[in-house]
Structures are given as C-alpha cells and as structure tokens.
Symmetry: C2
C-alpha cells in the first residue's frame, strides 16, 4: 500500500458567495491550501496519518482566519477558551483538551495527552498544569488578539447573543453563520487513519460550555477498520448524535459505504434533529467525503491519486 | 404499555467476598436497595424515566459509600472534582457537567443543563456560574469530607499513584480495585428510556482529568429506539470505545438483542482493549442487563414484573 489521502475543513455554516469579497475568498483558499499541503508533505514522505492531521490543524490554528488557536473567538469574559481532540485509528488511542487558554496549538497538547499521559481528556487549569510539564508553547493574550473577534464579541454582547463563530444576524458579519472549527483526517501509506479537530468555541459563550470538538465519538473519531472523521457544526446536536462514531458504526455494523454512511448521518439523522454543519471523512481505502447540510464549508482534499480540491460554497 | 424497569450500579472492580465484612456488605446492599426503591417509586406512580434515574443517582450521591457526591474521592489537591451526565431517550436531549466542586447533586445540575440551558456540556467554574443562576444546592468542603477518602488520598500520595476509587495494591483497601461511579437506567410506563451517571473520579488525580462518566456516548446514552446505558470502569478505555453508544449501534444497525450487544461490548470489545468495568442496560421492551468483566459490580434491578435483585460479586 502506498496510497495516501488527506482532507481538511475550516468550519461550516452560512457561507454565501454574495457576501464574500474576492480578497477574503482568496485568503481562505490560500490558507486551506497551505494547511493541506503541510499535511500532504508528511504523508508523501512516508510519515504517519497522526502527524499529518496534527500539522494540518496546526497550520489552521496559526492562521487568524479560523476560529482555533490564533483567531479563536472570545468568551463573555473576553478570553479564548479552546478545545481540541485527536485520535489514532491504528490503536484507538486518543487525546483531548477543553477549556484551555494561552496554548498556541491546542491540537499538539491533545496529542501530548494521547502520547504522554495515561489519560484521554484533560480540562481547564489542570490541562494547563499538564501543558507546563510537557513544555507546551504558551502565548500571551496579545498573540491571540484579533480585532475582528473583539468586534464580534462587542456585537454579540449588544444583542446578548451567543454565537457559533458567526451566527446569522443582520448586524453580524453580513448575515454569515459559521461554525468555526478546524479539522483534518488522513490515511497514510502504512494504512493508518487519524482524525483531529480544534476550535475556539462560541463568541460570547458563558458557563464553560464545551461543544463536540474535544469529544471522542462526537467531533472526532478514527478506526483503521472503518474511517476517520472530523466534524464541524452545532456542537450540542453533534454530541447528542454521537456523530463521528455513528459514521463508523454505520460502516462496521450496517456495511454502508463511506459515502452512504456520511449521507445518512449528515443529510438525514442530523437534519432530523436540527443539527446544522458537516464533516470530513476518509475510509481505509482512501475514499474521501466532504459532507455538509449548511450553505457552505471551508474544505479541501488531496490524495496520492487525485488533484487538490478546494471548496467553500455548496 | 404499563410496564417499567429500573437498574442501578454503584461501581465495578476488584470487589471480592473474602475482603468484604458482613457489615460493609449489608451497608452496600441497603444503600443499593434505597436507591433503586427511590427510582422505582417514581416509575410505579407513572413518573418519567428521566426523573427516576435522577432520583436513584441522587440517593447514591448522598451516600458516602459511593464515589459520587458526598463520598467523592479527593484529587491531588485535596478537592472533590465531580462529573455527571444524563440523557433522555425520548428526544435525545442530554446534559453533562465535569470538573465541578461543592455541588451536592451533580446529576441534578446535569439535568438542569439539559432542561434549562441551550447547551449539553458545561465544565469547571463556568458550570458553577450556571449552577448559581439555577440556585443549585451547594455544600461546603466539610459536607463532602469522608475520612476514608482522606486516608485513600494519603496512601495514594505515598505511593505516587492515581487510583480509580480503590486501585488494587496491598496497602490499599485490602486489595480492592473499584471504579467508583454510580449510575441508573430506566424504562417508564410511557415507553421512555433514560440514563444517568455520576462520579467523583480518581483518587489523587491531577491535570483536570475527565473520564467517561460525563461523556454522552461513552459513559451514558439513551434512545427510545434501542436502549439506555450507564457505564462504570476504566474511563479512558470507555471513551476510546464510545462504549454506551456502541451497545445502541449494535442493536440498531446489527439487530443484536440487548443481551448480545452487551456481551459483545463488555466481554469482547472492552476486554480486547483492556477496558475493565461494566455497564447496566435496559431496552425499550424492559429487558435488563447487568454486564461486567471485573470481579464484581455493585448493582440492583427491579421491574414491574420481577422481584428486586441486588448483587455485588460475580
């Protein structure tokens, strides 16, 4: 086996061409291209799927265009509270963090939890204690500050709303409603699948809310026997639907193809429960699905046998 | 339909008859009887499954014998950090909290998240802010203090270990290894299933570790189309296995009976990955399963057509 595949997303939602400027469209496309090429470089050189998804997600965490890492949205208290998770389909090992601040790359901290702790899920200040012991890279608040996110927080507070990145309101980002999350899935030349997801959560969120991104089975899942999945959308509905693992179960237990399993979950089960968003998926043969029931999803895919595809709208 | 069923657990692990005193055995049996009768009272009077599982879990949270609520184990910093989740199989609504302190009944806070917030999962201080707005019952540290838990923390610190309630060591609780968690599942006379799980986590835990108990799909799941599940065991393995939802998927997609689905998950899939523990399950016909791959599990079951059963050992 020497084939590889990789796919990434940068969030889904009400992303409409008529409210997008050519400059912004170009910036997003370029950012997606950089991220997927960073991951592909690993795979092309015989690296592992787990390293490829980490690198691709790091690239998007470092880019202020996406709601993860630098560019994460602000909570009600004006802080960044970030969540991330990663899973290796080879041995079902997994790591996740939630409610963390000042960590440059949450996805790499999640990977350290997976590789270097006996745990899967660390939250809040405890996760930061672990990060210090691991010599994880911290950044001060100034690093994470992006004026657009401050404006969003001010707008959200004015209307007393809580927004998943950019919720649809007239005042808000020209009617855009985006579920800001980034994610990557990959199949490496050794036949291993991996998935990674990272998010800055909701603008103006209170109460230490955690969505599906750091939840293994909901936002992220990988299993060499079936598929690797990373989700983006209205997190509460994805948690209640156990979305990522559901795709895997439909393949394993009902013998659906990756395409049919993704269709069932995204266009039937999630729609019935009101779960707007999407997911990216790769199966163990290298097939790629980019499924969403929203108006758009920032997305890209590439494999050893297919050209780079970048998409934004439906 | 006028049948009802209820089952509860108070944790699984190395629970051996030869290290149990008759007094302790009696106390656990009595505590299980009280909890299940509290839940059954709701069901017998036409109440809902969601209220029944809440009440049964509250009873065990209030009892210092179990590692949940009063009697929760101490973290490395000498605090109680508790987690809980609840799910209603009728509409797949769910609520969960993690890393919370000083809340008398974490399961009721999880229920408030489900019923009175737009979220599913709240963690840490944010969850406590929500609790204050809900007028949840707080208790000071003295309420939660149980000398046995302090002794366990001291022993764990001496050996620099981290224990799931009582991990097996010669010095530690006479060789007992228990996964301290409580949970309940129920079918009400209206045909609704519900599940609830609550835990105090691991003795001497660091880093804000969160196990499977508050994770919808891992420690808790309920769906009127299939079953209600509450798990107890080595949480990291249960998260990676998405254990609770896996039982549901095996029924829905592979058309296994509840008994066969529980056997497959507990005695095959979990064993393969090294996941010690168990689960309680009820399907939408009222069948009850109490499955575990450890030496024992504190458990009880009762239905409108069957007598009370209480079990501790294999």
């Amino acid at each position: 086996m020497s084939n590889y595949s990789i796919a990434i997303h940068g969030g889904a939602g009400t992303i409409l061409k008529n409210v997008m400027t050519p400059e912004k469209e170009h910036a997003y496309s370029q950012a997606l291209k950089e991220a997927i090429e960073a991951g592909e470089f690993i795979l092309k050189n015989g690296g592992t799927a787990i390293d490829a998804v980490e690198i691709a997600v790091r690239s998007m965490e470092d880019n202020p265009l996406f709601n993860a890492g630098k560019g994460a949205v602000f909570t009600n208290l004006g802080k960044n509270e970030m969540d991330a998770s990663i899973m290796d389909g080879n041995d079902l090992s997994a790591g996740a963090v939630a409610g963390i601040s000042n960590i440059k790359n949450p996805i790499s901290l999640a990977k350290a939890v997976m590789k270097k702790s006996e745990h899967v899920f660390l939250v809040g200040n405890g996760a930061l204690d672990f990060a210090k012991e691991m010599n994880a890279q911290f950044e001060d608040d100034a690093y994470f500050f992006v004026q657009m996110r401050q404006d969003q927080l001010n707008q959200a507070k004015e209307s007393d709303g809580m927004f998943l990145d950019h919720t649809s309101t007239d005042k808000f980002e020209n009617g855009e409603k985006k579920f800001g999350t980034v994610g990557a899935v990959a199949l490496d030349v050794h036949g291993n699948l991996a998935a990674a997801t990272s998010t800055g959560g909701m603008t103006n969120k209170k109460y230490g809310r955690v969505g599906d991104s750091p939840i293994i089975g909901a936002g992220t899942y990988a299993n060499n026997d079936t598929c690797a999945i990373s989700c983006t959308g209205h997190g509460e509905l994805f948690i209640r639907s156990v979305t990522a693992y559901d795709v895997s179960c439909l393949m394993e237990y009902k013998e659906l193809s990756l395409k049919d399993a993704c269709n069932e979950v995204v266009h039937n089960k999630l729609v019935k429960i009101g779960g707007e968003g999407g997911l990216i998926a790769i199966d163990n043969k290298g097939n790629i699905e980019l499924s969403f029931n929203s108006d758009g999803m920032y997305r890209a895919k590439k494999s050893s046998t297919s050209e780079l595809f970048i998409g934004i709208y439906k």
